[in-house]
Structures are given as C-alpha cells and as structure tokens.
Symmetry: C2
DNA sequence: CTGAAAGCGCTAACAG
DNA sequence: CTGTTAGCGCTTTCAG
C-alpha cells in the first residue's frame, strides 16, 4: 500500500504539502501542486479513507437503514437518497434491517462505530432507540414511520391515503370492505388501518374488518385467508402494501374469486407491476423517490451544518390511482 | 465520545487491558475482565470502529456492488449475502452501481479507500477494472457477469437457460420467436441473446430477431416497439430480464396484442409478480438467493484465509418454469 | 497476567 | 506558502 509519505518523497516535498495539494487547498503553489498530483498518479496513490476519517473525526458516508430491500417502495427511496447524496459528494451505505429490530439495532450500532456522517432510517417501530446516535452527535432523519421523539423527518399522509382508498372502495359500490395491514407494532400499518376505520365510521352501518400480519407476501396471504374464511366474508380489500397485495392476489386466485366481480381490491404503493396484473391494480401511490430525495437533502444540510437548528418535519401526500381492480363490474 | 482511556480510568486498569478484556483475550484475569466490562457498560462505551480498523488494517464490512437495486433479482442476491455475512459477523455495505460504469468505479474506489474486508461485485462489463482491489489485497468475488480475468465467481448458466426458454417457445408452436435483451456491453445480455440464437439455429429456417436495449422497463418497451413495428413481426418474445418484461407487457397492451394468442412470452427471472399477471408469466428462474449465499461463503473463506489459493468458480443452473404466457392457445 | 510505549496514515496547528 | 510536530483511538509488541 502506497502512503502519503511515499508520494511526499517522490515529489520531494513534505507529507503535509501532499495532503494540502490533494485536498485542493488553495494556498499551495500551483506548480508544486501539479508535481504532487503527478507523483500521486505515478504511484497510483489512494488516500487511506480510514486514517483520514480518524483524523478528521468524520466520514463521507451516509447510512440508509431501510426496513426491507425487496420492497420496491424502499428501493425507490434509495434512488432518491443516492441521487442527492452523490451530488453532495457523499456515498451511501445501504442497510437492510429486514423488519427485524435486532438487525436494525446492529446497523445503528455499526453506523455509530463507523462514524458515518449521517443516518436516514425508517424505524421498525416508534420505540426504536436512536439515543446513541444523538449521543454520538450523528445527525439523522426519520422516514416513512414516525418516532416517539422529536426529529427531522419526511413522512407521508398514510392515514388520509388509506381513508381515501377505502372511501373509493365504498363509492365504487362495495358493501363490506376489509383491511389487510402490516404488524401492529409498525406505525404505518396502524395508520393505514386507522384511515380505513375513519372511512368505515364516516359511512356508518359498516362492519370493521381488519387483520394485522407481516408486511410480506405470505403475510398478505395469511391475512386474506383469515378474512375469506369468515361466513360473512368481505367483498373488498384495502391492502397496506404492495408485497402483501401479491399475497392477497395469490389467496384470491386459490379460491377462484374474481377481482371486480366477487371482490374489489386496492393497495398502498404503486409497484411497477401494478398496471400489468389482471385487472390492473388500483393503488395509493406514495412519492417514494421524493421521500428519499428530501430526506437526503435535509440530512446533507445537517451534515454541512447549513440547516437551522429547529427540527424540520415534512409530510408528503399520496395519490389515488384508480385502475380496474377496485371497480365493481356487476353491481347488485 | 467516551474512549478506551475513560473506561481504563473507570476500571482502574490500563487501556491495553481494556482492549484485551473487551476483545475476549483469554489471558486476562476473569475478575478484571468483568470489572472492565462493567465499567464499559456503565459509561456506555462503544469502541471506535475507525480507530480499530486503522490499527488492525482491516474492517468487518463487506461491500456488495450490484447493478441495480430495483431489480428483484439483485435484492434476492442481497438477502443471500446478508444472511451468510451476518453469521460470520460481517456487515454488508450495499452499493447500487445502477448500471453506470462511473458509479461502479466510484464504489470500487470507496471500497478500496475504506479498506473493506472483501467485495462482491456484479460488474457492469467484462472490462470492469478491479486491478486496484487486487493491488490493495482486497479479496473479491464476481457474480452474475463474468470478468475478463481469472477470479472467484458465482455465475449462472445463462446461455443454456436462454436456449431452453427459446426452445420451449418453439416447441409450444410459435413460429417467429424474437429476443429482447440488455445492452450489448453487458455480458449477461449477450449470453442470453446467444442462447436464443443457439436455439434458432438448432431448428433451422427461423429468422434471427433480437434487439439490445437497457436492462430497464423502458428498455423493454423500446425494444418491443422496434420488433413489433416490423411488417413481419415476431409472434413470440424471449425477454432477458424481468424489468424489461414489464416494458414488453406495456407495449403489448398498448397495441392490444393478446398474450397466448397473438404472441407468446417468456422471461428471465422469476419476479414475485410473475404468477399474477395475466396470463401468468413463464420464466427462467435464477437461483438468486443461492448466488448471493455462495458468493458470500466464498468471500468469507477468503477473508478468513481458510480457502485454498486456487481460484474457485461456481456455476449454478436455471430452472424453466412454464406458466401460461408461453403457451399457444389457438394453434394455426 | 498487566502496563508502557509505539504507531496505523492522515490532517491541522503552529512555526518559519 | 511549506515543513515540523502532534495526535485522532485503538491494538499490539515488548518488558516486567
């Protein structure tokens, strides 16, 4: 490994000058700087990022801790984060907590030990412990799911989105809309359930039918099975995320229930495949890319200390996209 | 930030002893060790990973550089990598090169500067330059796409899979199968095209119809459009990845072409949504999770230096899953 | 078994 | 503008 002192010797200057030249410090003689750059190139010198971080007491990497890499919603967020981080010269370390509080804690701890410049996290629950980040002075912004404490955040009006989706189902003529949502310790799962309940109560005379299950395809299947096993089974389902929706679809097909006739369906998240299933899936789209981009923007400003001290909270809106899965083809 | 010397003072020992105790060095008095652990806990001490890495000249993180986070194939790989890395006590830093050689180079450079313990990479092209990794002594394993050099790797028999898919199309009665594949600088794109060509030539009398486009949904749309604009348009399409397949689907629906009647389709990668589109999509499934798991296993052994010196190359097979999109409903 | 001391590679004060 | 010096926090010889 070639180090700074090697370059210094090659260029006939001191290590300090090499450091300054390579970091574009303006008060170094342009000629010398050029000589240094050439020497560095000749030797294929790469600064040791670790040593640099230790000395500077800071790094150029952000950690993005997400709940599930295989959820397209989170990968879309990732792109938003990466695009703005890259513009700011920061790399992003993507951590997949996998809806597992233990993994989440591990990554939080890694972020601390590796002294990342900042963290963007979609916490598994509102109780996720970020105190160590605070203690270590690492700025962070919370996305997707709120935290039981005051922090910069970029959220979505989940509840309103859910309410709108459920209302849409009712307006379309479905008589017994149910809700399939995520685990009860995930705030987004509860908010979407509550939005569903808001709509049910608004209309009166409707039964509250919801079930919690993991935010995964199998969770969707299980929840749907439980609902459809009832004697008074629902005739429409509002699903809280796209992966669960796939599970619901599987269960529906197993039971030979036809979408649009026997049952209506609408889901949170406009997954890429939503327009292509049959019938095309109605969705509540979240501005995933923007969530990531705005969170990264906030974080970069914190890292650069160009942001005001006050906590900033951004809440974005969802968009109802009606395709065919929620329409009622043969009304009674 | 509480550091090792603080713990040393609190426990009334030297920093060296704290270090040894916390690293479970067996030759430290159990009583002392206990005292140290208590002191550390009391002070909420967290070792500074950066300082440790600088001193040890190594880290506990692997970098996984993938071509596209939003491709389910790569997220499935990611899970495989994470599961085995975690068991080995290593964290994984996920880097999204986004099919962009510049981003890829950046991440390679980050991996080097941050002295990661090892790298798993799906190189954008066979010419991707990993010489710096070699020079820095960082072990790496190549996945998905081969490199123009001898290295540990976990690949898939793409060409055979593509050939099998095309043969299946022909056997199903389609008369003019075409191929929509990725960019010509991506090796997997070429292999899948070549597998298609193998099948075409095997049968004789068939025209070679293929088009290269980006490995993205819009790439699939564009390629399909080009193919379907021909006077002698194909009646079946073998698509080289799931994201492109979605684009092809979009184009087909735009032109009101019915799958199974007007056109047959089969794609690489068993995306979660494949069974749910209409008709259910036939696919060539890749063992994505295993690719990740085996690559990580190889890498861990390199990192731990428990592997033989010889380069190891693993090639996994694909599985043809016939659903309905490739069947011909009304044969001529 | 424990402590003192050296040093990983870099950058920031401080002189010159 | 450049060089010398000191240390970031940790681990690891080397003595004791």
């Amino acid at each position: 490994m070639v180090k700074i002192s090697d370059v210094a010797r090659e260029a006939g200057v001191s290590a300090a000058t090499v450091s300054r030249a390579l970091n574009n410090n303006p008060k170094v003689d342009p000629k010398l700087a050029e000589r240094v750059r050439e020497a560095a190139k000749r030797l294929e010198y790469r600064p040791n990022g670790i040593a640099r971080s230790l000395r500077r007491q800071s790094t150029d990497v952000l950690a993005l801790i997400i709940s599930d890499v295989s959820n397209p919603f989170f990968t879309a967020i990732t792109r938003g984060v990466e695009d703005v981080a890259q513009k700011a010269g920061l790399s992003v370390l993507l951590c997949n907590a996998d809806e597992d509080p233990a993994k989440e804690a591990t990554y939080l701890s890694v972020a601390e030990q590796e002294q990342v410049a900042g963290v963007i996290i979609s916490p598994h629950s509102a109780d996720t412990d970020v105190s160590r980040l605070r203690a270590a002075g690492i700025p962070f912004v919370v996305i997707d799911r709120p935290l039981n404490e005051n922090a910069d955040s970029v959220m979505v009006h989940s509840r309103e989105g859910a309410r709108g989706a459920t209302n849409h189902l009712i307006d379309a003529g479905w008589k017994r809309p149910a809700c399939v949502t995520g685990p009860s310790d995930a705030t987004t799962a509860c908010e979407r359930r509550d939005g569903y309940l808001d709509a049910i109560r608004d209309h009166g005379g409707l039964e509250e039918l919801f079930v919690h299950a993991p935010f995964r395809q199998h969770g969707g299947s299980e929840a749907a099975a439980r609902l459809l096993d009832r004697d008074d089974r629902p005739d429409a389902i509002f699903v809280a995320n796209a992966q669960m929706a796939l599970g619901v679809l599987a269960e529906l097909s197993l039971r030979k229930l036809r979408i649009g006739q026997d049952v209506g369906i609408i889901t949170f998240d406009d997954a890429p495949w939503a327009p292509f299933i049959s019938p095309p899936m109605s969705v509540v789209a979240q501005p995933a890319y923007d969530i990531g981009a705005q969170a990264a923007q906030l974080l970069v400003e914190r890292v650069r200390k160009t942001a005001p001290d006050a906590v900033r909270r951004i809440t974005l809106s969802t968009t109802l996209i009606v395709r065919d899965s929620s329409r009622r083809l043969s009304p009674v």
